[in-house]
């Protein structure tokens, strides 16, 4: 890596990051009520006795991401990929270590802000506002969002409540809303797994576009092909540890041998 010579501009720096989840209520059946009382009365003390389990999800991960890069995150289920993304987005605290970012990275996910009982149209507005877009921006991009999602290709569906959509349609609308905003650092978690092939191609195009706008894109996916199509660098996490960090082909090859064994 010849990053020093050209002095690329870093957008995300992760420095020895550890992330630990605390899960309540895992105590064995016996005495769990007293354990709960214990936990309320003496917070911080005797976590184990109080039935709190610690899950060490990410262990000592360090990397530097640069402007204009698209980085894939791979690893088997439960290896800490999504957790790492949430920490980069500033939505999960790190146990130790530091994550430095340029501006505010955003997780591509407006799902939580959308309401199934409302029409697609109102959800576009609501989702846009939730992501911090202004009303004018939303009005400007409304048509693009609808066209991109392809919701109206099979009739006037955008004026129907979202609960009437098929899961694929809903996922497409969500991606379209989320991708409508320009992000400095965009974090995508399995978003491309949904939708038909045609939509996947369109999404990949949009990701390349976002990268072109001087952003950095992180993509978590189990689909090695979509990683190949969009990313030139891959981080491989296994059991919370960064196992490999390098060019896509090299890492994917090692990963494929690993998963086959």
């Amino acid at each position: 890596m010849a990053e020093q010579s050209t002095e690329k501009i870093p957008t995300v720096v992760a420095d020895q990051v550890d992330i630990v989840y605390r899960v309540h209520g895992t105590g064995a059946g016996r005495g769990s009520a007293t354990a709960a009382l214990n936990r309320i009365l003496r917070p911080g003390r005797a976590e184990k006795a109080a039935g709190v389990r610690r899950v060490h999800a990410v262990k000592k991960v360090s990397f530097v991401a640069y402007k204009g890069e698209a980085i894939g995150l791979i690893g088997t289920n439960g290896s800490g990929k999504s957790t790492l993304l949430k920490a980069v987005a500033g939505l999960l605290p790190v146990e130790s270590g530091k994550i430095y970012t340029d501006g505010q990275p955003s997780l591509l996910g407006v799902n939580a802000a959308l309401m199934n009982d409302l029409t697609g149209e109102r959800n576009v507005h609501l989702g846009g506002l939730a992501m911090g877009m202004s009303r004018e921006q939303i009005r400007e991009r409304y048509q693009d969002i609808v066209d991109f999602s392809g919701i109206n290709e099979k009739g006037d569906f955008i004026t129907l409540p979202m609960r009437t959509y098929s899961s694929g349609m809903a996922a497409r609308l969500r991606f379209s809303i989320a991708a409508a905003k320009d992000h400095d650092v965009l974090l995508i978690d399995e978003a491309l797994a949904t939708g038909d092939r045609k939509f996947q191609v369109r999404s990949e195009e949009r990701i390349r576009e976002l990268r072109g706008q001087a952003g950095t894109v992180f993509l978590v996916s189990h689909n090695n092909n979509s990683i190949r199509d969009t990313c030139e660098r891959v981080l491989w996490l296994e059991r919370g540890e960064l196992r490999m960090d390098g060019p896509t082909e090299e890492v994917l090859k090692a990963y494929e041998t690993f998963t086959k064994s």
């Binding site: 501009i9 870093p10 957008t11 995300v12 720096v13 992760a14 420095d15 020895q16 989840y21 605390r22 309320i40 360090s62 990397f63 530097v64 949430k86 920490a87 980069v88 987005a89 500033g90 939505l91 999960l92 605290p93 530091k98 994550i99 430095y100 970012t101 340029d102 505010q104 990275p105 955003s106 997780l107 996910g109 407006v110 799902n111 939580a112 802000a113 309401m115 009982d117 409302l118 109102r122 507005h125 609501l126 506002l129 939730a130 992501m131 911090g132 202004s134 009303r135 409540p161 296994e238 059991r239 540890e241 960064l242 196992r243 490999m244 960090d245 390098g246 090692a254």
Partner: protein, 304 residues
């Protein structure tokens, strides 16, 4: 399953200070730090459209599956009032010596419901919306405020039903009706403030949501929703401090102000002393105090 590390982590083992220095050189900031209070207010102001849109969306989503749809916004409070009329007006015939008892009661119930449901919604504002909090960046105070706003909109629908009931009971329209506006504003600020306090506490201890209904019910019974505090205090042996406490009770203050504004036969002497001072004081105390208290934990919501 043995997972032996065939390849040692190739990430160059840089010294810790090295990465921090690189970040500092390019002006990167630590992810997920709490903004200052002024920044926070500015961020919140920038999200004002989200706050209103979210409140309205929640309100409309509520009845979207019902055949009658939004008609329920007015029908629900009307039915509520009908039940109270049936129990207190017809079955028990209790009037507690209050003129226009039905308007008196219904106003009390609606205004109290506004505070009660704001606080209940506030308690679950963070703990019930973890998905949203964990997926998107926005000042978290937007949630409790938005829920309080939703309840305010709900109250406005109830007020429409209330006006209808006032007509039925022959209560005349007066200039004093204009007082409903400052009363509503003050009560909204108070409710939003308490919601923010409850949101922070509920985020840490979700069990509060189970406890709140009991606390709120107790609060309701001492707030003069079904009886006149003024009348009760006149022939009572309660110690002085308890009387002051009953009169200063913010819920009672807002309820009585609303009755004074709407009901012709509810006279000024029935109001507690310094009622506007109490109304403004409570609103400021809860509003500002609640906001600062909520902001203090901003970076911890939705975590762990």
């Amino acid at each position: 399953m043995s997972q032996v590390l065939h390849t040692p982590p190739p990430a160059p083992a840089r010294a810790e200070g090295d990465l921090a220095a690189l970040a500092a050189r390019h002006g990167l900031s630590v992810s997920g730090a709490r903004p200052t209070l002024t920044q926070y207010v500015r961020q919140l102001w920038a999200r004002r459209h989200f706050i209103t849109a979210f409140a309205t969306a929640k309100l409309t989503a509520q009845y979207s599956q019902a055949k009658l749809g939004q008609v329920w916004q007015v029908a629900t409070p009307l039915l509520n009032a009908a039940v109270y009329y049936f129990i207190f007006g017809v079955l028990l015939g209790t009037k507690h010596g209050v003129a226009d008892y039905i308007p008196f009661l219904v106003t009390g119930v609606f205004v109290w419901t506004f505070t009660q449901s704001s606080i209940m919604a506030g308690t679950r504002a963070i703990s019930g919306n973890l998905g949203l909090v964990r997926a998107l960046h926005f000042p978290r105070a937007a949630l409790p405020i938005s829920f309080a706003l939703q309840q305010l909109q709900q109250l406005l629908f109830s007020m429409a039903a209330l006006v209808f009931i006032l007509f039925l009971c022959g209560v005349p329209i007066g200039l004093s009706w204009a007082l409903t506006v400052p009363t509503l504003v003050l009560q909204f600020v108070f409710n939003a403030g308490i919601s923010m306090v409850m949101a922070r506490m509920g985020a840490k201890t979700p069990d509060l949501a189970q406890l709140m209904p009991f606390i709120l019910r107790t609060w309701m019974y001492v707030s003069g929703v079904m009886f006149s505090i003024d009348k009760t205090l006149k022939n009572t042996t309660l110690p002085h401090w308890a009387q002051t406490l009953l009169e200063a009770n913010p819920a009672a203050v807002y309820i009585d102000l609303m009755r004074f504004a709407l009901i012709d036969s509810f006279k000024a002497h029935q109001l507690p002393h310094h009622v506007w001072a109490y109304a403004v004081g409570w609103a400021l105390l809860a509003g500002v105090g609640g906001f600062v208290y909520f902001w203090k934990a901003e970076e911890r919501y939705g975590r762990g």
